[in-house]
């Protein structure tokens, strides 16, 4: 009975974050417009410059993962918004454990970005006209875990940095590095050719794992040569597990006891 009540609390934290995200209608519409513009303008035009076969499809699938990443990051900005309005103190005063709170927020942050990016992924699948049902299901699970992991990472960084301006700048730099040193926009072979060190980093990048799995799931693997999807899948699981568990520990350490003030 008690465990049921505790699960309910976790679900309520998740529900709150999902509801909250969809209150930001302007942001959602603008991001959707940005996504479509990227496909319709940048994707179409840049694919004509590339010698890589089917680059347009490659780009659209990578863009889906990038959009998922940036939507999942948004939870960190929510934390600052809440700190500014004092909502943080309210959340900390509720009959919800810190573990439930951070786990709920990681899952809520990931889930809401997945719900948001879902239609965009459907659009991208339609555009690239490719799907392999079983593989796609596996890649979908991986993208779920990836988005939870990114939310956990965003929460962890937000509570460590404790300054919205710095967080904004840091996430901009991180975004530039983590996305560009991945296979979201270009195949691993090309990254390795340009600089073996870049290639090495891209090999251990969660964005690479998510992008590769998504392409594998949607059947665009001809240009990524993903021989064993288990490895990136494990990579995503480790990424999710680390930032969820680490997030709980850091959150408790930094927030509990008024560390935020």
């Amino acid at each position: 009975m008690e465990s049921e009540a505790e699960t309910n609390k976790l679900l309520l934290v998740i529900e709150r974050d999902i509801r909250l995200f969809f209150q930001y209608k302007f942001l959602i519409i603008m991001r959707a417009i940005w996504f479509v513009s990227q496909i319709a303008l940048f994707g179409l035009i840049s694919s004509r410059m590339m010698s890589i076969p089917n680059y347009f499809q490659y780009y659209v699938s990578g863009l889906s993962v990038m959009t998922l990443y940036s939507a999942a990051i948004f939870i960190g900005f929510d934390i600052y918004e809440e700190a500014e309005h004092g909502v943080f103190e309210y959340l900390l005063s509720l009959p919800v454990s810190r573990k439930q709170l951070v786990l709920g927020r990681s899952i809520g942050g990931g889930l809401r970005s997945f719900i948001y990016v879902g239609p965009l992924i459907a659009l991208s699948l339609f555009v690239i006209n490719a799907i392999s049902p079983l593989n796609f299901l596996v890649s979908l699970v991986a993208l779920f875990l990836f988005s939870f992991g990114v939310s956990g990472m965003s929460i962890t960084i937000a509570v460590i940095i404790k300054s919205s301006d710095r967080f904004d700048i840091f996430m901009g730099v991180l975004d530039a590095l983590i996305v560009r040193l991945s296979t979201a926009m270009y195949p691993l072979a090309i990254v390795q050719q340009s600089n073996p060190f870049y290639g090495w980093i891209a090999n251990f990048n969660p964005v690479t794992y998510a992008a590769d799995l998504f392409r594998w799931g949607t059947g665009i693997e001809s240009i990524i040569t993903l021989s064993n999807p288990l490895l990136p899948f494990l990579g995503v699981v480790v990424f999710f597990g680390f930032f969820t568990l680490f997030g709980v520990v850091i959150y408790e350490r930094m927030i509990e006891g008024g560390g935020w003030q």
Partner: protein, 320 residues
């Protein structure tokens, strides 16, 4: 019966600033304890420590049967808080906010719907329930904040300046609702810098100043603790004589007798309600007919000034 809240040397420092300094205080189940003090006195810090939002540097508190350091999750299960500044994001509606709060506090669906409607009606916010926080006035936001506790009906309610920014009619409504909440068995900590509010609602009042608890007692005892705090203004139908003054000075409760006008006296004394009949008797015996008599008790303003040497306004200026 053991107190429901026991604070033991509760201390909080922010850098070099001691916000709460070795606070020792016990609160009985079912009572309303007023924490009175200017901004910066440490009231909100005490509340945040009890709510386990911030951790004390030293000392602890036992809430219910749980230590705030050892069992913070259990402590939060007993508490409901209405914060001084409404804690809400501007994009949410009043209804969403209260409905979610009721859910997370464990109210059943039926009970939740009933209480949210009942309380929103009572605080005159039902018609505004679909407005976002951004569209609400400061007073409306405050009413929504207080509504959280009224819906939750926790075992221990902490209300931080519940009627700040609210008009006088609204204040009385909220006071009545808080009194009703107590009648249902809720213990309450009322942090306020409104002396009248503390006087009207509290069973006991603790005066906090610069993080220290100066005194804690019933409003009546606090007022009586000011030596010569009660005042009687007497107007006679004749000039006051030296004999009359001498007779009045003979009462042990009378601290000082001042002749304001030839026919007017002002007496500074204690326990006015007990002494007045005897004073009237003495004047009657002295054939000094009374034209008018006016009594006034000290207010909590006077109590605050007595213990801090400052009016609450002066203390506010020197606060955090």
């Amino acid at each position: 019966m053991a107190p429901i809240i026991q604070m033991k040397d509760l201390t909080k420092k922010f850098g070099n600033v001691v916000a709460v300094d070795h606070l020792n205080l016990e609160i009985e189940e079912g009572e309303i304890l007023g924490l009175l003090g200017p901004n910066g006195a440490g009231k909100t810090t005490v509340i945040l420590m009890l709510a386990t939002v911030i951790r004390p540097n030293d000392g602890t508190a036992v809430v219910g049967e749980y230590d705030i350091r050892k069992n913070p999750d259990k402590v939060r299960g007993l508490l409901g808080i209405a914060f001084q500044e409404p804690k809400m994001l501007w994009v949410t509606t009043a209804w969403d906010l209260l409905n979610w709060h009721a859910k997370v506090c464990g109210l059943s669906t039926e009970e939740r719907k009933r209480r949210v409607k009942e309380v929103l009606d009572a605080v005159e916010m039902w018609d505004h329930r679909k407005k976002t926080v951004h569209q609400l006035s400061g007073g409306m936001r405050k009413r929504v904040e207080v509504a959280k506790v009224l819906i939750q009906r926790p075992r221990i309610a902490i209300v931080d300046e519940p009627t700040a920014q609210i008009d006088i009619v609204g204040k009385h409504k909220i006071w009545n609702m808080l009194s009703d909440l107590r009648k249902e068995g809720t213990t309450m900590i009322l942090a306020t810098n409104e002396l009248y509010e503390a006087d009207v609602l509290s069973d006991r009042v603790g005066i906090l100043h610069k993080g220290k608890l100066l005194v804690c007692d019933t409003p009546k005892k606090l007022k009586d603790s000011i030596v010569g705090g009660d005042i009687i203004d007497i107007q006679l139908d004749m000039d006051v004589t030296a004999r009359i003054i001498e007779d009045l000075q003979g009462f042990k409760e009378v601290v000082k007798v001042m002749q304001i006008k030839p026919t007017n006296l002002r007496l500074y004394l204690n326990r006015v309600e007990e002494v007045v009949p005897r004073i009237m008797n003495t004047l009657q015996k002295a054939n000094a007919p009374i034209s008018s008599i006016r009594m006034s008790e000290p207010s909590l303003d006077d109590v605050f000034a007595h213990y801090t040497g400052l009016t609450i306004e002066e203390a506010q200026k020197g606060g955090e």
